[in-house]
């Protein structure tokens, strides 16, 4: 492995271990992409090159995998990525209304990012919160049994958190 890395020492060490866990190195690809994205914010060209190099596959192989998975992105999202489910169980309990409310509140369309980079919004498919619908995820955190007021509070809390400098 090259001595220079884009990643923090902790993540680089995690990657060194990850590629040894599986019968084939390439199995570590999807987890590596996720963890890299969590740290860097998105899968930049440089991230893709380094991951390809760590696994010993081509950059194209990596891009081919990235384009398949909906959680992986090659452009930055907001610091808080708001993912509103509108699939059947959520739709029946007002998921579309929650999405519309978020669009108005944040002033962005689906897949948009607020000008300050704080929030991005995405309509997503079923997130596994059907019995607690309607639901949304902000980054990896679940917010369930939502109403317009509840999602307002969720978004306001993230805004406050960001201002006070508390990490996500």
């Amino acid at each position: 492995m090259s001595s220079t890395t884009l990643f923090s020492p902790a993540l680089a060490a995690r990657f060194d271990k990850l590629v040894t866990l599986y019968p084939v190195k390439r199995s570590a690809l999807v987890p590596m992409l996720l963890y890299a994205q969590d740290e860097v914010g998105y899968l930049s060209d440089a991230v893709i090159v380094e991951i390809a190099d760590r696994i010993g596959i081509t950059e194209l192989d990596v891009r081919n995998v990235i384009s398949y998975y909906s959680l992986l992105r090659i452009k930055p999202a907001g610091k808080y990525h708001v993912q509103v489910c509108t699939n059947i169980s959520c739709m029946l309990r007002g998921g579309n209304e929650i999405l519309d409310h978020c669009k108005k509140k944040l002033g962005v369309a689906n897949k948009g990012v607020t000008p300050d980079g704080l929030f991005s919004l995405e309509e997503v498919e079923c997130i596994g919160a059907c019995s607690w619908a309607p639901a949304a995820q902000v980054n990896y955190d679940f917010h369930e049994n939502l109403t317009a007021e509840a999602i307002d509070k969720v978004l306001d809390d993230y805004r406050t958190k960001s201002k006070s400098g508390v990490a996500k």
Binding site: V30, L33, Y68, T86, N87, I88, S89, G128, C130
Partner: protein
Amino acid sequence: MATLATHPDCVPVVSYRFGKGATDIGRYIELGGYDSVPKALALGPEGIINEMKASNLRGRGGAGFPTGLKWSFVPKQSAKPKYVLVNGDESEPGTCKDRLIFEQDPHSVIEGTIIAGLSVQAKMGFIYLRGEYRYLLQIMERAVAQAYTKGFLGKNIFGSGLDFDIVTQTGAGAYEVGEESALMESLEGKRGIPRIRPPFPAVVGLYGGPTIINNAETIATVPHIFRMGGAEYAKLGTERNGGTRLFCLSGHIERPGVYELPMGYNLKKMIYEVGGGIPNGKKLKAVVPGGASTPALTADEIDIGMDFDQVGKAGSMLGSGGVVVLDETTCMVEFALRTMKFYAHESCGWCIPCREGTDWLKKSLTRLHEGGAVDKDIDNIRYLAENMLGRTFCPLGDAAAMPTIAFVKKFRKEFEDHLDGKGCPYRHTHQEELVVV
């Protein structure tokens, strides 16, 4: 925090340790955890499979294949290593049960994986969670680390002389990866594209080795079968449908939630008594009995027992346990359209009937919903769906086609009400305008 819902009719088996702090290995052991592995070790591979067969446990992922029989297909001798793969890529709309298991009882998944491994002499297991369940990966990783510390994983597990390792990871957002062969591709670091079968995973699976692949709930049930005995477990359910399962009630229902009920529990009772009926005095219109891919039942078709055979006989499927309830205000065209938007989004694109079929169905249903359709479009929707059936490598094409056929067949009048430029006669919940790529 996802929590289990309860009702006097609930029978806690797989949820036996939920809400009791069993994420910690010490507490799990106090509650009888990891007692099943020594029992399984004493029985040996053949004994384990016989016990599983006696339990009448059928796969909780959706297809309902008998688990013991599935395990027995793994060849005894194999040049390549054998593997156990736990499918926690729960993504079927309407389904949120595996999430509870990982969150509240992660060690039951580990223990089940070990027993599955012992039944075929595998040395390695993988637990694959959906990418959205990142917080559960942390819970699972902690549980796996605790199991290593106790000597339940690693070299010479339980002093048996056998080795067994478990690796946990998540996916990155793909419904298709919940399909067994696509899951193996994903775990090998590739796009989740299904493989042609035969050969089946039991013979040629992960890394080309014989592989047991089961749904997370199926695996989490295994230790309980050895705790109670296979025959006792079987008795909780109906004929050929052993035990209990987690049902996820969602949609227009008074008390949505995940409930553990015996196999064969009456659907009508499940909705009206367990779930408290339909809110706001509304009437029931339809029930999707086992996740988005299962054909809807009308209000007068729900007096049936919820097991694989009885729901099958009623023309639908028990599926993944996701019971979605629709009241009389629901527009069935809109519901069909939302379902199809999902499948069009999730089709991996490998098979043309699925890739093109889901997209055309989405377009046709959109046109119908917006009032631009003509009479012939209704039959075209059904014709298109019928021609997708059985013509794809994996069941995603069928999963999109089957409910669509049922919607047209059972709610044709509603489809017709959208014709002649009228559009949707129901309260219109918003649909994103279509971007045709």
